[in-house]
Symmetry: C2
Subunit: 183 residues, 2 copies
């Protein structure tokens, strides 16, 4: 019943995610996605409907890999200070090893949003809510868990946006240390 597909959706999606991650929604063209996936646009459109579908799928994939990884890192430490220190360290690592400055796809998406923009804005808000829940869980032993989670979220977002914005790893480590100390 039909031909076997010569590509794998998950692999294509991974490439698409990296593309949007680096260049944002408007900054990424369908042609860019053809190049990075190696697939013709027809295949992309069949698989993801349209550009927005590609972006939403990429964002969802990001949440299920990168964000889930963050949750895992946090859950590996009992002490919240240690937990967040580890999280921040993981965020900074690619900057001072490979000078990789993609930042956080979700944070970039939040800054990308141009006012009232379709389904994407909603998904971004939802993903941020889930991220704050992850933070909250790591801080659940504290009675000020919710407030602390808010602060750490802001610090996390700031850290990752600044890293994309070109801040050196020395400054980023300063930020991380001070945020952990504030806990």
């Amino acid at each position: 019943m039909g031909r076997k597909k010569l590509y794998e959706r998950s692999e294509a999606l991974k490439a698409i995610k990296l593309c949007f991650w680096k260049s944002g929604f408007e900054g990424t063209s369908i042609q860019d996605l053809e190049r990075c996936t190696g697939l013709p646009k027809q295949t992309l459109y069949r698989e993801f409907s349209d550009k927005e579908g590609m972006y939403l799928a990429a964002l969802a994939d990001y949440e299920q890999t990168e964000i889930r990884e963050s949750a895992r890192i946090l859950s590996q430490h009992d002490d919240p200070k240690e937990a967040f220190a580890a999280l921040f360290a993981a965020a900074i690592a690619p900057v001072d090893t490979d000078n990789e400055r993609r930042g956080c796809f979700l944070c970039n998406a939040a800054a990308d949003m141009t006012g009232i923009e379709s389904a994407i804005a909603t998904r971004v808000e939802e993903a941020i809510d889930r991220l704050i829940s992850v933070f909250e869980q790591s801080l659940s032993k504290r009675q000020s868990a919710k407030d602390d989670a808010c602060m750490m979220l802001a610090g996390y977002v700031g850290l990752r946006v600044l890293s994309r914005g070109g801040m050196g790893s020395r400054g980023l480590n300063q930020v991380a240390n001070q945020l952990v100390a504030a806990l």
Copy 2:
């Protein structure tokens, strides 16, 4: 010696700034700028050379108005806690009065940057450096001024990106309060 211009550069620039502020570099077309300034593209190109010139001029204008205003707010309070509380309050105000979610142009620009991109990246880095200096000055009485400024910068960036990302004013106030408490 020639005809008087029927427009004012500063007014045009103000409109251009708002446009890039809302929609970012890639998300703003020359046609958008024609509409918001009321000027034909010829005039825009003569005045600012090209799209990048328009963006850089807008970013510079942002720094000389909005960022300078931030410095003013900070300088009006002796106690750093009060100073940053006032700064954060000013950042949150437009969200819960007009639901205005432009965020911070400079923060948006930092998140926009797609890798090695021309002169814009450099200017953004410089502007961030200047912003951190402003923060540092407000904290100059402390011996940990530099570290505290780093943390507040990350918190500030996070706060403004989250506000653009749709976080409600309740959450934003939580963030602000906790950041001030961490000082």
